[in-house]
């Protein structure tokens, strides 16, 4: 986890809020560093994490996680991490018929299916184990990333249904957290992606939006991060709080600074 980002968000692993949905969104840049941050954050907070990793392989997250101080292999063996590796599972589902419904069953279906098997997988992974001490503080669902589901043929409404079911189970029933990454297509008119992004942003408590700089590529400033705190349950009588920072990603950490205050400029 990035200590500077913790300071900006005013949290640390010991006293994080529960029952929150965090939306990570990236436009014209790669926002995957935020996923790595939250993965290591919640593993350090001793939470039970279910990671639906559709975008990269397990060893990628593992190697980056080791740079950030968590070991995913050990966490998986201990039972703290339930990892669904999308790429490997897709190959299994596609080439062999499965007996029981697989979380990625929709890959075999001709029409845009629903994500019920995936939801069952998540619920099974995060349900509290009866009769035993509570080893983990609270459950967390991490999804990287949701736009891949649209590319695989699932409709935007089906994905929103899935998020709704997960939110009801994870955030409300189990008092856990959810972190979701959605790509913002920007000026490319991807209607389904826009529907998905708008739908999830209206339900989220915290939105972290990583944008590329409007002026283009820069070696010293990799992008801009907008942080927006929301209260979705209450009608907005007060304005939501929003902050903007620029960042530069280094090998093991990310440094944040106010706009225009990059160390390279000063």
């Amino acid at each position: 986890m990035f200590v500077e980002l913790n300071n900006l968000l005013n949290t640390n692993p010991d006293r994080a809020e529960q029952g929150k949905l965090t939306l990570l969104c990236d436009a014209k840049t790669d926002g995957s560093f935020l996923v790595h941050h939250f993965l290591s954050f919640y593993l350090k907070a001793n939470c039970k994490v279910c990671f639906v990793a559709l975008f990269q392989s397990f060893s990628h997250y593992n190697i980056v996680g080791q740079k950030l101080g968590v070991n995913l292999t050990v966490a998986r063996e201990r039972g703290q991490l339930v990892f669904l590796e999308g790429l490997k599972s897709a190959v299994d589902v596609f080439f062999q018929t499965q007996e029981e419904p697989h979380p990625l069953q929709f890959l075999r279906e001709a029409n845009a299916g629903n994500l019920k098997p995936l939801f069952e997988f998540v619920r099974e992974a995060l349900k509290p184990v009866d009769g035993g001490e509570a080893r983990w503080t609270y459950p967390v669902l991490l999804v990287d990333d949701l736009s891949v589901l649209l590319s695989l043929g699932v409709g935007a409404v089906a994905v929103l249904d899935f998020i709704h079911y997960c939110r009801a189970t994870v955030c409300w029933e189990l008092k856990g957290n959810m972190v979701i990454l959605v790509h913002d297509s920007g000026d490319v008119e991807d209607e389904e992606n826009d529907i998905l992004l708008n739908g999830v942003s209206h339900q989220s408590h915290l939105i972290l939006r990583a944008e590329g700089l409007a002026t283009g590529f820069c070696r010293d400033v990799h992008g801009q991060l907008r942080i927006l705190w929301r209260r979705p349950s209450q009608p907005t009588a007060q304005r939501d709080q929003s902050l903007t920072y620029q960042y530069k990603i280094q090998d093991k950490s990310v440094s944040f600074f106010a706009k225009g205050m990059s160390p390279a400029v000063l």
Partner: protein, 424 residues
């Protein structure tokens, strides 16, 4: 040679050392390092594959794309397990050359090839591969090998190194060179012996699609389903996914898919705005990437993205590929007569580079890249653009090699893309 990069950084390294697990976990995304073996020998069990080297940044195993200049721009080469997507230029003149250089590099290094096309027979594609430009030492070696192969009867009596006469003669021509990255001569064809000595598989869609389809309907077009099954068969039969641990020599599978997404594959994303099945191509790419991540293979795909009218699909395809390079040729456009571009044939855009096992990637600072195809060589150069804000805001355009011809004094500042400060 005005290429941006020299392959000096990779020359001399004959096969790189990579630690491979002895268990079934074969993904190449592993940290490089010696492994303590349980046997008596204290040295680490290292396996080296010809034509690969580990990345400087994260130990990722890399193969050359066939163009050393492109290798340098991509941060060393193409990582094994990833997809290189080339967005074809408008009249499909230069993208086949990149495709063929990739395949030729595989033949020269002794890798296994898998060539898939809906337009041309893969055997014909292989006949048209460019010939490698060998330096004098390896060329002499190659000539001697050819000589030995052609006249097995002649026993040349060795006078000095007579012990070597007792060794058995080579039966087949091995890989010509295990160097990383070679230059290719676009005007000559690859020698027939090299093609025959290589191991390749071809997938020609009209032949394969005529057989009956025994798969349950899913939203992929039949051509894509057949291709995925073919690739998966080759990977599992030849052990690229680690399923045959007895095989002594590990090798890399290079997959080349030509004109993916074109109507010849049965997909209509290039024809219509409202596509009947818009997820076929993206699903194919996802499953393909899943296959690649779990095996020792690398894939090059050329796609006519300029024909795809639905921009959302292009964005999704870009997100699902690892490296995306766009070629824009000047033929038929107004830039053909622009004096800035008179030495070049087109622009090359590196649209995306993946971040593998890392938070950052080796993005090159240079964004203005142009290519030209001389009589023999395909080179990539950086166009340096200078602009001076004088009274009349004149613009000076210089390309790197013509700086000397200009009357501007040679100055260290001119080496980089730079805007001169306003002179008051």
């Amino acid at each position: 040679m005005a290429a941006v990069a020299s392959c000096g950084s990779g020359a001399g390294s004959t096969g790189s050392a990579v630690a491979t697990a002895s268990k079934s976990n074969v993904t190449s995304f592993q940290k490089r390092g010696p492994r303590a073996s349980g046997t008596n020998d204290s040295g680490p069990r290292l396996v080296s594959i010809a034509g690969t080297r580990p990345s400087v940044r994260n130990g990722q195993l890399l193969v050359s794309t066939g163009l050393p200049a492109l290798d340098q721009l991509l941060g060393g080469g193409l990582a094994i397990g990833t997809v290189l997507l080339i967005e074809e230029d408008k009249y499909n003149i230069y993208s086949p050359l990149l495709f063929k250089c990739f395949l030729a590099e595989g033949i020269v290094n002794g890798h296994t090839l898998l060539v898939a096309s809906a337009k041309e027979d893969p055997a014909n594609i292989l006949q048209e591969l460019p010939a490698p430009l060998l330096d004098d030492n390896s060329k002499k070696e190659f000539d001697e090998d050819v000589y030995n192969h052609k006249t097995p009867e002649s026993n040349i009596k060795m006078k000095i190194a007579w012990r070597y006469q007792l060794l058995p003669k080579m039966e087949q021509i091995g890989p010509v060179s295990s160097r990383f990255g070679h230059y290719y001569d676009a005007s000559k064809r690859i020698p027939q012996e090299l093609i025959e000595a290589s191991n390749w598989h071809g997938f020609f869609l009209p032949e394969k699609i005529s057989s009956t389809l025994k798969v349950e309907p899913c939203s992929l077009t039949p051509g894509y389903i057949k291709l995925l099954q073919f690739i998966q068969n080759i990977i599992s039969e030849e052990g690229f996914d680690g399923s045959n641990p007895q095989k002594k020599q590990r090798n890399v599978l290079r997959i080349g898919i030509q004109n993916l997404g074109s109507p010849l594959w049965g997909d209509d994303i290039c024809c219509a705005e409202n596509v009947s099945n818009s997820h076929s191509l993206t699903k194919f790419l996802y499953v393909l990437r899943g296959l690649l991540r779990t095996s020792l293979s690398a894939c090059i795909i050329t796609m006519p993205t300029h024909l795809i009218q639905n921009k959302a699909i292009i964005a999704r395809v870009t997100n699902l590929s690892d490296i995306v390079i766009g070629l824009e040729s000047f033929i038929g456009s107004e830039r053909e007569t622009n004096p800035l571009y008179k030495d070049y044939h087109g622009l090359i855009h590196i649209r995306q580079i993946p971040r593998l096992n890392n938070l950052i990637c080796d993005e090159s600072d240079v964004k203005d890249l142009a290519f030209k195809l001389k009589r023999k060589l395909f080179t990539i150069e950086c166009i340096t653009k200078l602009r001076s804000y004088g009274l009349r805001s004149q613009k000076y355009f210089l390309s790197r090699h013509s700086q000397r011809k200009c009357s501007v004094k040679k100055n260290p500042y001119f080496k980089e893309p730079h805007t001169l400060k306003k002179i008051y």
